[in-house]
Symmetry: C2
Subunit: 271 residues, 2 copies
């Protein structure tokens, strides 16, 4: 990677969760270098206010922009749901969140138009998925539910067994009752709980992970600008975190599906 990382795709998240989005990007666009910033000193965003999440998002974006990225992916659903307009107004590079791509994929997949969305309290309260689903398909009937315990379960690695099953039943029973045929996993942590979520929702319900859809959307934007790198190029991937790297590297490997090469600690004030 060139020393200033010019031309990489920038990705930020509140912590490790966005690595599921990075994983999809690396698979879809193997020639693209990436810079990932996990704001582990302030994680989680999902229970915090729109004002604070927007402030942190702008600081994250500025950190990555100073390093010369060509496009920004907001990999955090909560940040995507509240901070995207502010980021778009602020930045000179294309900015993509995970909400619109995930919503469009779900709208296309659903047969009945009855779609469920699960996410953090911040994401669900924002109504962003509900709005994007409506925009993509006006006949849609959306049932949304915040599942705050799913994030600590995923980070603890409690993804199978009685505890996650019981928690999932508690949260998802109302969605099962509404008869949705498609469920959006509207938080980057939730794909780790996919098995138990699928079991509770039943075989008739399709699960949509925004990560794949977002990677597609990034590919389309870069292609339209003639800014795609050759797939044969040796891409490089760098990781920055705002708390010390150990826990990020440890938990992050589960989210990325492979060991992390190393992460650099950056100051919490981004000074």
């Amino acid at each position: 990677m060139r020393p200033d990382s010019r031309g990489a795709i920038g990705v930020f998240d509140s912590g490790v969760g966005g690595l599921t989005v990075l994983k999809a990007l690396m698979r879809r666009l193997p020639g693209e270098s990436t810079l990932y910033l996990g704001d582990t000193a302030r994680v989680p965003y999902g229970t915090k206010s729109p004002e604070v999440v927007t402030l942190y998002s702008i600081k994250n974006a500025e950190f990555l922009l100073e390093r010369g990225i060509k496009l920004l992916v907001v990999a955090c659903n909560t940040a995507s749901s509240v901070a995207l307009p502010e980021l778009e107004a602020h930045l000179r590079v294309p900015v993509l969140g995970v909400i619109a791509p995930g919503a469009r994929a779900a709208a296309a997949k659903s047969r009945s138009g009855k779609i469920g969305v699960i996410g953090t309290p911040g994401t669900i309260r924002s109504g962003a998925y509900q709005r994007e689903l409506q925009a993509a398909r006006p006949d849609v009937q959306v049932s949304a539910r915040a599942c705050p315990m799913f994030v600590p379960l995923a980070e603890e690695g409690w993804v199978t067994g009685d505890v996650p099953r019981l928690v999932a039943r508690e949260y998802l029973a109302p969605l099962v009752a509404t008869g949705v045929d498609t469920l959006v996993l509207g938080c980057t942590h939730y794909p780790l709980l996919r098995d138990v979520i699928a079991e509770v929702m039943g075989p008739g319900v399709a699960l949509v992970d925004s990560a794949e859809a977002t990677a597609e959307a990034v590919a389309a934007v870069l292609a339209s600008k003639g800014a795609l790198e050759a797939e044969s190029r040796a891409a490089e991937h760098r990781y920055f975190v705002t708390d010390v790297p150990e826990r990020f590297m440890d938990v992050g490997a589960k989210f990325l599906g492979q060991p992390l090469s190393g992460a650099e600690h950056v100051d919490v004030s981004f000074g």
Copy 2:
């Protein structure tokens, strides 16, 4: 309260949890005014590194000191376990954490000397309770266990029923097996789960909540300095938070055991 709040007891915590300590202080010292700062923009501390928790603790302490407090209580177990030496070196007022009072109370209460401690990963990893228990009673045998899911359970209000019982069994079974006769609730959130923890530990195990012991220690320090207010004085209590106040007021009432009179939003950078 005088406009600059001079002479109040300052209390900070990562969020709402420290209100269990404030509650004990208000009961033990009804004439004392208090200033409480909940760092809700950065909560939780329990899964973050000692470096970051110490940095946030110093900023919290400075915010309260500027308002003229006469004594500082670090109501957060994680901050007490890693940041106390730095705070003591930094400040000109007495500083009390919750660890030493809690450990001394447990050491005095245990008959067998087999004592269990539960807390956040940060608190347990620091070894602070283990050291204080050893100092208070050299024959002690300490069994410690991090219970990270207890914080989101308490904040969600899931404090009775199958989910907390199952989670408590998962965490506490190894402590039951060691035959402890006393268990320290080494996190301010855990008193909300007291019933389910007591049920899983069994009737032979005494539970120690550091909040009461800390209130006693504060009373002793103020008395020794002749700085106690008359109990008949009309005390005032002010609350500051670094994220917007709504969730703090809502969840906080559960921790304080009474409605909060109001909370003021202060800037996240404490500028």
